[in-house]
Symmetry: C2
Subunit: 207 residues, 2 copies
Amino acid sequence: MEITDKKAAILAEAEKLFAQEDFDAVSVRDLAKAANVNIAMISYYFGSKEKLFEELIISRMANSQTTIQAIATDPTMSSIDKVMAVVDFYTDRLMNNPGVHRMINRELSNSSRPQLRDLLLSKITTNKEYLSMMMEEGKKKGEFREDADVGLAMINLFACIQYIVGSSYYSCKMLDVPTEAQLFDKEFRQRIKTYFKDLFSHYLLKK
Amino acid sequence: MEITDKKAAILAEAEKLFAQEDFDAVSVRDLAKAANVNIAMISYYFGSKEKLFEELIISRMANSQTTIQAIATDPTMSSIDKVMAVVDFYTDRLMNNPGVHRMINRELSNSSRPQLRDLLLSKITTNKEYLSMMMEEGKKKGEFREDADVGLAMINLFACIQYIVGSSYYSCKMLDVPTEAQLFDKEFRQRIKTYFKDLFSHYLLKK
DNA sequence: TTGATTAAAACAAACGTTTAATTAGTGGTA
DNA sequence: TACCACTAATTAAACGTTTGTTTTAATCAA
């Protein structure tokens, strides 16, 4: 079955609505209305509201594994340069797809759909392995401080950007950014990158 | 009207259930069953499910303003020591009350109850003012690096711990912590504190 | 004609809330 | 102590909506 206009329209509108509100707070009637289709089409195309939700997340969660792997295993880069590349990659990745990462964020913080949660987790875990490898390598090569907590550093990067994307309304107020749109703009994105690169340089590198 | 056993029981069970699942995913029947009271008691004591939710969050959100203010305005402490004190305070505060901070976290990341969201925001904003003051003071005194992004540093601290608490299931896997209980234990808590103190020392202080 | 698509209507189940009736508790009066 | 009056607390049942899903029939394309 190929992707019809209507199916694509439903997915597109679902991404918008589910980015703003929880799974239960968005009804199939809301979805159908937004996508300008009949209510029955959700069940017809996806089987159920829940399957639509899963298909949406999975389809939009682009595979970052190959990129992370490429960075982590590059023999020509220094460890700190690899960290910089990861900062750039994650910042852009999360900020280019705020909707789906809001959804992923919420799925990881509740236990309503444990099977979906575990699926997301398994996809993320692979990246974690490569990142751990990369960080440990930095220590072994004597580039990074031995007593740096590289595990926390990695989750710090991910958590902080994820949090800013997920709670953009809140983050704007805290960071004195006037509008949510500006939060995802090039300028603020650069500020995030600069912050983390600067932060990790000071924290990880030996003096 | 004083707080009866039943009212307190409802609030206690509500905190557990709302910590695990969204507002809509927890029904009044779930709540009544868990608290071992009749369904009608939720409306009777709180007016509505939504008002119960609001009352729960507000009552459990202890006032951190005085503590933060005391730290920020203490004339005997150095700026970096103030940062250390804030790290200790926030870590314990969030990890001692994971349930309510999960709820707050979710409220800040959706727009289902904008009025509650803005109320939470206003309570948090006061702290932000004191923290900004404290950080700028560190720069003026020449203790902190001029080009440190203190705004992002503060939200980084808050976001990261909030994220670990909010997505504890996920965080366990990422940090190789076996159980969620251990995530809130003294040992891991100390690891968090050490990480951030070390991180900010390297990032903020002049060489 | 055949099979996929669309629409309107109906479905049962679950939702939050309210009603009406009953019990428990309190304070005052004798 | 006993009785009454009154309010608060509690219950079971029912309320009207809304939920996600299905059915049935009509329409369209090949």
